[in-house]
């Protein structure tokens, strides 16, 4: 070793003492370098033991989807990155379509830097919050300066934080497990602590994770209990008289919490959505404190259950307009009661909890409230239940829920006493017309497909749905290879392909829609199978699809 290199090595800090961003980038690199869950947990746990407290809080926030809002719009990011990389914008865009991830593309095209950054993760995130309010020139200057100096993984992490959506194959559950390993605090306790609203910019690691602070507790939901799908015949579940059935409503599963004269509404994705449904806030005046209700949020236009499509227009909006509140009001359709008079009643038998729910409903002071009960039904035999299931589409439900009368309200998904018996999906045979490359692990592979149905005189295929799932990896590879050889035209990332292959598309619901070219919206379309036995002339028409809309 030459004298010069030796001095250089001595200058760099020893590995155990590396700075914040460098450490975080090293963590991401380690997580990226293994496909094994245990190794990921070990790397994260190690990080949670060694990193500075402020960085730990931000790491928890990032891995539980609590990032600061995106400070720079992506159009600028693309322009500035291609400028720094000295390539035309179209070439950047082509590269992006192939790489399949914006932050990764930016990281790849920018010339490599050698200097690792000395700033901490917290500093970077604070700068991003600060950056949001700056002028475009200042933003550009800030980005270019940092892109130039950060090494590959730091640049990737930095850009990923800016573009948002930090999905790197680490779930919140995995992160909680690692945190539990590092702190010795039980996983369930941690999961509960990390729920609800907390601000990574202000909360300390101690207050968030260590402190037994119960002041925020009143907003916290219980873990949701989930059902397994009935496989085979429901009669295999035994004596029908042991069960209560009810419709499985097609909305957003939720918990409504009334505590301390306040109301909190949680979605199943553990997202606090209280502000999105102002019409439900009135419930806190009519439901006593110390009550938690499990129910479905449903659109209720004109006093009737609407389609999920109508609810979809409200999801994702930050502010709900007055008009929307009038046209698409939302109600709670209650399934269950988890807390009553401040007491956790999840251990009560389902029949007993339902009786409590009924009495609550009866005693509510006036009846024009956005609160309904999902009716339970008892059947004399399984055939009668099957008949009721057959009415599901008419009832605007997804099928039936079958719950054992003696069942308690459990945690997560357990096999045993709650079953869902969904209606079979609707299906239609459609022709593959367009394809786009996928993202993430499907990058560089054509896996996102658009399907068309015949018009009335069967001369033209009309786009009706997009689907991304349902084929095996092997089938995806085959279709991908076929698409590459049968491209007709390219429109940026999208290719039109020779109409040829027929796929059976399944979907859960169907409704008229102004937003779709075909005039029809389907719910959760996916590929059921590749109909290699069918010619494209045998595919269905748009009028076949229209005939499926419930009258």
């Amino acid at each position: 070793m030459s004298e010069e290199t030796r001095t250089q090595q001595e200058k760099s800090p020893p590995l155990g003492d590396i700075g914040g961003m460098k450490r975080f980038a090293a963590l991401i690199k380690t997580l990226d370098s293994t496909n094994k869950t245990n190794a990921k947990v070990a790397a994260l746990a190690h990080y949670f033991k060694e990193a500075p407290d402020r960085d730990k809080v931000w790491t928890i926030a990032i891995l539980s989807h609590r990032r600061p809002p995106r400070p720079v719009n992506t159009t600028f990011l693309r322009e500035w990155a291609s400028e720094l990389a000295n390539i035309p914008l179209w070439l950047f865009e082509e590269s992006y379509h192939i790489v399949g991830d914006l932050a990764e593309t930016i990281t790849l095209v920018i010339p490599n830097a050698t200097e690792p950054s000395e700033k901490t993760l917290t500093q970077y995130l604070e700068e991003m919050i600060w950056l949001k309010k700056r002028s475009d020139e200042e933003k550009k200057e800030y980005l270019i300066e940092n892109w130039k100096i950060l090494s590959y993984y730091e640049r990737f992490v930095f850009t990923k934080l800016i573009t948002g959506g930090f999905r790197i194959g680490v779930s919140q559950k995995l992160m909680t497990r690692a945190l539990s390993k590092a702190t010795g605090i039980e996983e369930d306790v941690l999961a509960y602590k990390l729920m609800g609203n907390w601000d990574p910019a202000t909360v300390s690691f101690h207050d968030l994770v260590i402190e037994k602070d119960e002041s925020q507790k009143h907003s916290r939901p219980y873990p949701f209990y989930l059902a397994y799908a009935v496989e085979g015949e429901p009669s295999e579940l035994g004596d029908v008289s042991n069960y209560l059935a009810e419709h499985k409503w097609d909305g957003i599963r939720s918990q409504t919490i009334i505590r301390n004269d306040d109301i909190f509404i949680w979605s199943r994705g553990e997202e606090l959505v209280t502000d999105k449904y102002p019409e439900l806030h009135i419930l806190k005046d009519h439901i006593p404190n110390g009550t938690v209700i499990d129910g479905e949020l449903l659109p209720f236009p004109n006093g009737q259950i609407g389609s999920f499509n109508e609810l979809q227009t409200r999801i994702g909006r930050k502010t709900v307009s007055k008009k929307m509140l009038e046209t698409t009001p939302v109600i709670v359709k209650a399934y269950d009661i988890l807390e009553w008079e401040g007491k956790d009643v999840r251990e009560y038998a389902f029949a007993k909890r339902r009786a409590l729910l009924q009495s609550l409903y009866r005693n509510m002071s006036y009846n024009n409230l956005p609160f309904y009960i999902s009716a339970t039904m008892e059947f004399n035999n399984w055939n009668d239940m099957a008949t009721e299931r057959g009415r599901s589409r008419e009832m605007r439900s997804e099928g039936l829920m079958i719950k054992h009368k003696e069942s308690s309200y459990g945690v997560g998904r357990k096999k045993g006493d709650w079953w869902k018996w969904k209606v079979d999906p609707l299906t239609i045979d459609a022709v593959l017309t367009y394809a786009m490359r996928g993202h993430g692990r499907r990058s560089n592979l054509f896996t996102d497909y658009t399907f068309g149905l015949w018009n009335d005189d069967r001369t033209e295929l009309i786009t009706f749905a997009k689907a991304y799932s349902g084929l095996t990896d092997k089938e995806f590879k085959q279709v991908d290879a076929w698409i590459k050889k049968n491209t007709l035209e390219r429109f940026g990332p999208v290719r039109s392909v020779t109409p040829h292959h027929v796929f059976e598309i399944a979907f859960e619901g169907i409704a008229l829609s102004k937003r779709h070219k075909s005039g029809i919206a389907t719910r959760f379309p996916r590929i059921l199978r590749w109909r290699q036995d069918k010619k494209m002339e045998e595919a269905n028409s748009l009028s076949d699809l229209k005939a499926m809309i419930p009258k």
């Binding site: 990389a85 192939i98 790849l108 993430g440 990058s443 560089n444 590879k477 050889k485 040829h500 290699q532």
Partner: protein, 350 residues
Amino acid sequence: MKTPLLQFTEKGIYCAAADVYLDPWRPVDKALITHGHSDHSRWGHKQYITQNDNVPIIKHRLGDIQVSGVRFRESILINGVKFSFHPAGHIVGSSQIRVEHKGEIWVFTGDYKTENDGISTPYETVKCHTFITECTFGLPAFKWTTQAEVMNNINTWWAENKALGQTSVLFGYSLGKAQRLLKHLDTSIGKIYTHGAIEKMTEIVRQIVDLPPTELITRDTKKEDIKGNIVLAPPSTHGSTWLRKMSPFVTGSASGWMAFRGARRRRAIDKGFVLSDHCDWPALLESIEATGAEKVICTHGYTDIFSKYLRTLGYDARTEATQYEGETLDPTPTLPEGENNNSKEKSLEV
């Protein structure tokens, strides 16, 4: 209009003046072969001509064929057309083919890389008027780090795995990548085991270059002997029962495609090492410029994008359809019968 010196036909790249083909994909009488990968040296030609180092390689791969070898830079005249083979630096025995006729010079690269990998004869710039180039990694997203750095990472990875009592399984093509990795593995860490396909090819390559000793994994190889050592295996063994004997093991893959996180995750490989036997973006642009060519023809890779960019730089660049695959990301699966193929873009995109 006069016939171009080289034409792209259904059978391959054809020189009408000499009546020979370069790397043809359908059986022909006389084939000039750049290198031993199966998409460039196919079975069924009556006569093969290639550079000397490549002779034992294609003999091993194709069996009983009629092949004659020539030296690098040695000129052979066929019907008044002058052909010569020049180092392409892609794998051991790989060449570019220079074609000269009536003062006009074309060069066909086959596959190539400009970095000296310490095992293939290093790439040499050949001046020409028309340059037929691959562009497997012809996107600005591909920029390689040096081989020394990548090999250092691989050796560090191996040593770390060994310290944890795990075997390192490293995937690479049987011809080319496997020997390149082998050449630069640090034998002070442990022993190098091989899969049969790699061992056989390596035996052939040993006739041309010095390589560290390897041990073939057979039915009699003991599990405890392998532990902590490194295993070189073809990518196709990933996920197979053959790997059971190596456990506990971690997997690594050395390929240019490992530059993409998605590509690695899709394959469920633990560690990706970005190491390619093809040019990266800057190397493609630099080598094209160095040839002094005005016309550039892109044969395989991101051909449309790359030739479009070359045109913005002032080259007369276009794409021609071939059946070369470059470094494939996934083995291309065969399609069910009765596929139509009426696209203008018939070239295999990888």
